[in-house]
Amino acid sequence: MGFVRMIEEGEATGLLAENYRLVSERYSHGLGFHLPTPELYKVSSIVPAYTHALSESQRLLTGDGQHYCESDAAVPRLFAGFCVAALSACFH
């Protein structure tokens, strides 16, 4: 439950439904188990341009779902993301 109305996966249509499907597929591929679309991607679902922006960021960060781990990098991207979240007092 968030602060605003969110469109759930079963209700989504058009580009929003496509973004939900892609986000779930990319995570599921990387994690090795099915992961429904996380709520982070549903927050802005009634203004879907922002959902699309987040979906695009996930596409770029995961190589369209083909990779998830970057532990060999000096500073993995997800490490940087974690730092920014912690520094912002955001614990999602």
Binding site: S44, A49, A53, Y68, F91
Partner: protein
């Protein structure tokens, strides 16, 4: 901790960062990156050559620095959406690593509140018009950059300096996200927010991040919306001075909160939008606009990118 295990980051490392991100004793390039990102997130307008040199000394190449900045901007939007949307880490009951949220709230307030003396980037416009001083190397021949440059040329008639400054990024490139961010910022993304409110929300967010990069665009948006250009040094209550009615004031106050202290957003903020007849769409549009604006400003501040000579508004 499922995700941390998947990305092969030691749990202790993440815990140390979460416990005290400002002072975590992390060695090597990751420690240097953490210290840089602390400034990027909280005081990007104070980043200077010395900060980037510290990253290089820790072994980071300019590609890594460009990547850090882009990752920081992407995460800025994600944080904004999570805080403003009121969603929490589901497996930990709202507390992913078992620490005290209030501790961070206090720490961040001390860094982003009134005590932080602004050294606004506007001086960069006056001192060096049109001359970007990118702090990292660029690579105009990079294939991902070339592709993005073509798209930018088609949309705006020129390639923004910010994209040029980020041209030496890693593969896979994150540049398409920055292009999307700049495009989304051209207009409100819902009918619930007027172009004037959208432009003023951008101006408020830029004020919070001491960002000058988007100033020509925002000024143009304000003029198009029949609003006077934003002043250089607001001495009074800027939001109140610009508000034409209570709805305006609600929008601008929320924009300020989202830009400066997003962790303070509560369900009441969204309820106020509904009570005022603005609805969730306007709330989310303000939130998204602020998140994208902060990300762009932080990157431009960090990389020393001066404003473009022309507004970033669709030439078509």
């Amino acid at each position: 901790m499922v995700l941390s295990q998947k990305i092969s980051l030691e749990d202790g490392l993440l815990r140390a960062i979460a416990d005290d991100p400002e002072n975590a004793a992390i060695p090597g390039p990751r420690g240097a990156a953490l210290r840089f990102l602390a400034k990027f997130t909280r005081r990007s307008w104070r980043i200077g050559d010395a900060d980037l040199e510290a990253l290089r000394k820790a072994g980071l190449a300019d590609e890594d620095i460009a990547d850090l900045c882009q990752m920081g901007a992407i995460q800025t939007l994600a944080v904004n959406q999570a805080d403003g949307g009121g969603i929490w880490f589901p497996e930990a009951g709202g507390d992913a690593v078992g620490h005290d949220r209030a501790y961070y709230a206090g720490a961040q307030e001390g860094l982003t509140g009134a005590g932080a003396a602004p050294t606004r980037g506007r001086g960069a416009i006056e001192g060096a018009p049109g001359a970007a001083a990118f702090r990292i190397a660029t690579d105009p021949d990079a294939a991902p950059y070339q592709e993005q440059a073509r798209r930018a040329q088609t949309r705006w008639g020129f390639v923004p300096k910010l994209l040029r400054a980020l041209s030496k990024g890693r593969e896979p490139s994150l540049l398409p996200f920055q292009q999307i961010a700049l495009e989304l910022l051209e207009a409100p993304q819902s009918a619930a927010l007027t172009p004037r409110q959208h432009a003023l929300v951008r101006a408020l967010a830029a004020e919070a991040s001491h960002g000058a990069y988007c100033e020509p665009t925002i000024q143009q948006q304000l003029v198009r919306a029949g609003e006077a250009p934003a002043g250089d040094a607001p001495e009074t209550d800027w939001a109140k001075a610009r508000a034409r009615d209570e709805r305006d004031l609600l929008v601008f106050r929320f924009a300020e909160k989202a830009a400066r202290n997003a962790y303070k957003i509560t369900e009441k903020d969204a309820a106020r939008f509904r009570d005022a007849g603005l609805g969730d769409e306007a709330y989310l549009d303000v939130l998204g606009t602020v998140g994208l604006q902060l990300g762009i400003d932080r990157m431009a501040n960090a990389l020393g990118v001066a404003p473009d000579a022309h507004p970033l508004l669709d030439a078509a």
